[in-house]
Symmetry: C2
Subunit: 331 residues, 2 copies
Amino acid sequence: MRKIAVDAMGGDNAPKAIVEGVNQAIQAFPDIEIQLYGNQAAIEKYLMVSERVSIIHTDEKINSDDEPVKAIRKKKTASMVLAAKAVKEGEADAVLSAGNTGALLAAGLFVVGRIKGVDRPGLMSTLPTNDQKGFDMLDLGANAENTADHLHQYAILGSFYAKTVRHIANPRVGLLNNGTEETKGDPLRKETYALLSEDKTINFIGNIEARDLLSGVADVVVADGFTGNAVLKSIEGTAISIMGQLKTSIKSGGLKTKLGALLLKDSLYAMKDSLDYSSAGGAVLFGLKAPVVKSHGSSDAKAIFSTIKQVRTMLDADLVEQLTQVFAEGD
Amino acid sequence: MRKIAVDAMGGDNAPKAIVEGVNQAIQAFPDIEIQLYGNQAAIEKYLMVSERVSIIHTDEKINSDDEPVKAIRKKKTASMVLAAKAVKEGEADAVLSAGNTGALLAAGLFVVGRIKGVDRPGLMSTLPTNDQKGFDMLDLGANAENTADHLHQYAILGSFYAKTVRHIANPRVGLLNNGTEETKGDPLRKETYALLSEDKTINFIGNIEARDLLSGVADVVVADGFTGNAVLKSIEGTAISIMGQLKTSIKSGGLKTKLGALLLKDSLYAMKDSLDYSSAGGAVLFGLKAPVVKSHGSSDAKAIFSTIKQVRTMLDADLVEQLTQVFAEGD
């Protein structure tokens, strides 16, 4: 039985969307148990009773605008902190929250703790590509600065995830750079390029450019946290902007335009779905002693369900145990 | 009379698109003279004769896959190099090319030369926003590494451009960062934040995130060259990917979908236009002793015309003279 600690109070639609996602997951997966941390009365309002779900009541929670590290240290009984502590104390195998990302990163680092040999856990997501296969990118912003050694560790972590969770046999690892030639980039990129080229345990395919990410040029993309964060937010911002422009242009159009939009509805929805991160699961703070997974703040029940499914796959694959061994050997 | 040196041999559609763009500009602007550098016979095939256009023949040209610095040093009579030399020797006031970006950057730095006080000229473009007003962003990749002083200089350069060329009275300058709070970012961002806050000659509005760029959150966006390049390419890649997905989804749809697309044609084109960089002009290598402007490699005649118009505006505003004075005072 896999035990997942879920922060019921994090995210824009908490606790409703969180609890409804849990209901779906409990029905779909008979091999999981869920611990819901948060306000008991608010949770019970939406919860379908099951002997595989328990509620751990607390009145305290971390808000989206709380300063992350301070919040983790001061709000010792916040739902997110209790969920992380449950993992630390062996009562749960993984943590899931849709709340304050920075606070979850801090809880992961300071409460759950790093795998020995991983210097700076990175935030990783599976992002969508045109061919629907997706790619894993890290660090998406857990760190503001990284060294070449960190980036090398991200390549190993990302490869492992792509292999064991996404079942890609020999994942292509690309280094995000300002050009594809070997000589491109700043000293950080050049040093990383050398480290990745020498590591025969990964399938390093060289430098890749941000322009080619969505066409599926690599299965794993390695970036420093500052650039990874900027790229992720650029992709999101552009997608939102284009969909918004199309909407405005349809709204301000005449009858002909509106009829056209109606006829095109399926295609437009298909496009929106392909940009939809909710089915790809959450962002993993990767390199910790247990899966710590962040679901998008605007997650609905479906997104929470997908993230629980993803956590379950990570647990089934014994990802953390395998990584612990890999990084121990590397020492 | 403003004299513009144009590399007729650079870009995917050279010399046809270049010469046709020049034809349009010569007709539209009676106060400009154009020097076309390249193969005389190939140019004459498309050129409308005017006493304000001259051809300087050369057989040599820089290819898109040439190593930039080497190409500038070895191909001393390449069309791009001759155009840059014309500016250096006072025969022309500005250079325009749609060719090898790296080579044009090198020609700008080594042949045209920097304004005294500008340490690292940056590549700047006016990028589109939802409200059609656009924003100027630099550095987009002229440098792989930047210091806080460089970023401070970009804020001054960008503000000047927004004021004098785009006629924005008090341009809002934003620092691209991984969060909007003052304390965000790596040491480079924190140091830059302090410098920009102290400079009362610019209207610094604080940190901005890549997600908000296209919604017009700032008039000038300052970034290091590595991140700026990644963000620009992410925006381009995402736009191309979404338009491609929409096309595929329409093509594979039935009669209903195709009819819908036909009715929506105007809206879809309007959206495509708003993402179209060709009407916004070229990318300026900013901080040099004369305007050095790169038109997109795939430029058509319209894009070349727009870029010439942009160069003319920069010359009319005496931008370089003003900047020379500003940076001299700063010393």
